[in-house]
Amino acid sequence: MSASVVYALAFYAATAILIIGVARKIVQYAKTPAPLKIPTMPAPVTQAGVVVRMFTEVALFNSLFKSNKWSWIFGWMFHFALLLALFRHLRYVIPADSFLMPLIGHEIVQAFGKYAGFAMLAGLGGLFARRIVVDRVRYISSPSDYAMLLLIMGIAFTGLMMSFVNHTDIVLLKEFMLGLLVFNIQPLPTDVVLLVHLALVIILMIIFPISKLLHAPGVFFSPTRNQVDNSREKRHLAPWAAELEADRKAGE
């Protein structure tokens, strides 16, 4: 089997694992009741307020900012850079005539995405250093915590290599990616840096639903952050808790 076929099959498998795995967790979170009101107070008293709170958490890492400025700057830098890099990469999977192309292909988006790789590496490097330098963080770190940082650093590093040192055949790559979308396996460029880059991305996709990377969907389901503070105004009752009340009618 050629590298193209191996990578194509790996991409299909990884995509399936990522989508099905994360979807299963999201369904699990959504279906599990939160029987008690436990927002960390002071909390918003309206649903709109919860949206604002969630936005400050997801977009600005508000709680982390309160906790530790170093973790915040490294963590936020990494995540925001990752987002920019992802935007840039959309170019490789959407057709040239897509309505998104003027936006994604815009040189500002592309330039930010390109240099975001450095910010990613810097942020990840900072987080890695914290794990080693701060005794408390070292204590709570498992090998997988370091491994995951190294994995993403590897992705960023090989990406930067291709942007600045060792260009790959981007036209060929795009044909491969667009081919994948229609189950038509096209040849993949065979330079090692690209193959490593893609292999690491495939690993990342596979471990996503079985690791702490679940923090991404998890934060949206965190009752301490997504609940409205209205327990006095509105009765909150989980289905399993309602069942307990069968005895009540008789008792009072």
């Binding site: 709680s63 005794d135 408390r136 997988s144 915590d145 923090h215 965190s222 009765r235 989980a238």
Partner: protein, 514 residues
């Protein structure tokens, strides 16, 4: 009790370097078999407990979304590692919130996740932070989940809102389900469920105590302030922690509530059936036990025919009341919907103050400079008033209405960032004195700073546990046992009762008050 050194208070709190195992020797007394059955738990450690632990954990993951999300979402970023007062006071790394959670999470990872099973099969579960469950792990759980006061300070700083209190409650519930429970919590729940309060005071003792208080207040003030019990048809049912009936300084708070009700001309009563605001069912993570205790309050309210429920000064009780009572024992359609259900005594008093219905002689408190200790469950798990943060503002507004001298402690030790007193969450027992003393260090350092630099003489609180804890802990750190005061004790000292010797309204005022 082992000997230990009381930490030396520093000018500025520093995050200590960790020292493994400094608190490993602490083990709270276990519940005796006869107290387990009535709460629905096995008498002692059951056979096959390993299996049953996992089954129970699975059950709880299916019942509590927070538990499941928190187990999955931690990225070990370290944001919480320096936020727990027990870590700051003991240096024991297992008292870092994430490490405490990991005691449980590593077992979840091992038996209930693909990563843990996979690397477990390879013989290296530790690679992904998973570990086998064994007796040592269970012992660690017992030790360290009883060194968490469920204060939620860590959850403020967690980027995913992971609340160690939820993990610690689940862990205690799991342990209880295999027959390993703490004596202090479970015996108290037993008393509250059979007698009506945590102290096991029967109705007769309550009557005697309240009569004694009536005599005392009348002697002091010349005014016949009533402390009604089981008075049918009263408007307001006061639910207060039973410590208020006799402990110091709690009882001075109760006297304060009674004086406020008296001055407001309110018709109120306490209940012998529900003579306890505290609800230790929360501490052991038991929805069922928490519910059973809450239903006593519902029953009392129905039986007495009251229109309102007001809670006295108690931190976790206010959490259960504010956040959970409606869920556990509602709906309360039989109460007057024009008032918050339930209402906190500070909200009640503050409303009267804002409407100018109470008169104070603030100079009565001039011998004190007061600071306020935000109790964790009030600050981070409840609210007062209409606006977020009212739980911080309203008690301070009450204090400032009755005291001339008030100073806040440092910003990062109050409000949502408040440090626990060190005795919450079911830790207020003598067999845990070492962790209580050490866990109080961050609060004591903040207090020392305002004593040294702000002339503060007294620490006011609105929580029965905080008050009991501080009256024990303050002397260990060289402060007076009576430096801790109830907020309504300050109210009590300053309030001018109509018709008392201090009441000069008829001489000075022009009889505005009807």
């Amino acid at each position: 009790m082992a000997d230990f050194d009381v930490p030396e208070l520093q000018e500025y709190s520093v995050v200590p370097k960790l020292e493994e195992g400094t608190m490993a020797h602490i083990s709270s007394f276990k519940a005796k078999p006869k107290f387990q059955g009535p709460l629905g738990y096995p008498d002692e450690l059951v056979d096959n407990w390993e299996e049953k632990v996992i089954t129970k954990m699975d059950e709880l993951r299916g019942k509590y979304r927070g538990f499941q999300v928190f187990l999955d979402s931690c990225v070990k970023c370290g944001a919480c590692t320096d936020k727990c007062h027990y870590y700051l006071g003991t240096k024991d790394p297992k008292n870092m919130p994430v490490a405490r959670q990991d005691l449980l999470r590593k077992v979840y990872r091992r038996y209930s996740t693909f990563a843990g099973k996979f690397f477990g099969a390879l013989g290296i579960p530790g690679f992904v932070g998973a570990a086998d469950l064994n007796k040592e792990v269970l012992d660690d759980w017992y030790t360290y989940f009883h060194q968490c006061s469920q204060c939620r300070r860590c959850s403020v700083y967690c980027p995913y809102g992971i609340d160690t209190a939820e993990i610690s409650m689940a862990a205690r519930e799991i342990m209880s389900s295999v027959g390993v429970s703490q004596k202090y919590c479970n015996e108290i729940i037993g008393k509250a469920q059979t007698i009506g309060n945590n102290l096991g005071l029967p109705e007769k003792a309550l009557i005697d105590t309240l009569e004694g208080l009536e005599e005392e207040v009348e002697e002091d003030t010349g005014v016949a302030v009533k402390f009604p019990l089981d008075q049918k048809g009263a408007d307001i049912l006061l639910i207060t922690p039973s410590a208020d009936f006799f402990a110091e300084p709690h009882v001075d708070g109760l006297i304060g509530y009674a004086k406020v009700f008296h001055e407001a001309g309110a018709s109120w009563t306490m209940s012998s059936h529900a003579s306890e605001a505290a609800n230790f069912g929360m501490f052991i993570g038991s929805y069922e036990n928490m519910r059973t205790l809450s239903l006593r309050i519902r029953k009392a309210a129905i039986d007495l025919g009251v229109k309102r429920i007001v809670f006295g000064e108690c931190g976790h009780a206010w959490r259960v009341a504010y956040s959970f009572l409606h869920t556990l024992a509602g709906p309360f359609d039989f109460l007057d919907q024009n008032y918050p259900i339930p209402q906190h005594i500070c909200e009640y008093t503050n409303d009267l103050i804002e409407n100018d219905e109470l008169k104070f002689d603030k100079s009565e408190n001039d011998h004190m400079t007061v600071t306020f200790h935000d109790s964790c469950n009030v600050a981070r798990a409840s609210r007062m008033g209409d606006k977020p943060g009212g739980q911080m503002e309203i008690p301070r507004a009450v204090i400032k209405a009755v005291c001339n001298n008030y100073v806040d402690m440092a910003e990062d030790t109050i409000g949502e960032a408040t440090f626990c007193c060190g005795g919450g969450g079911g830790l207020l027992t003598d067999d845990l004195m070492e962790i209580r003393v050490k866990g109080a260090q961050p609060r004591m350092e903040a207090y020392k700073s305002v004593v040294d630099n702000g002339g503060v003489t007294h620490l006011a609180a609105i929580c029965a546990i905080c008050k009991a804890q501080f009256s024990k802990i303050l002397p260990k750190y060289g402060y007076g046992m009576t430096d801790i005061v109830s907020v309504h004790q300050l109210v009590s000292d300053a309030i001018i009762l109509t018709g008392s010797e201090d009441d000069t309204s008829e001489d000075s005022d022009t009889n505005e008050s009807e």
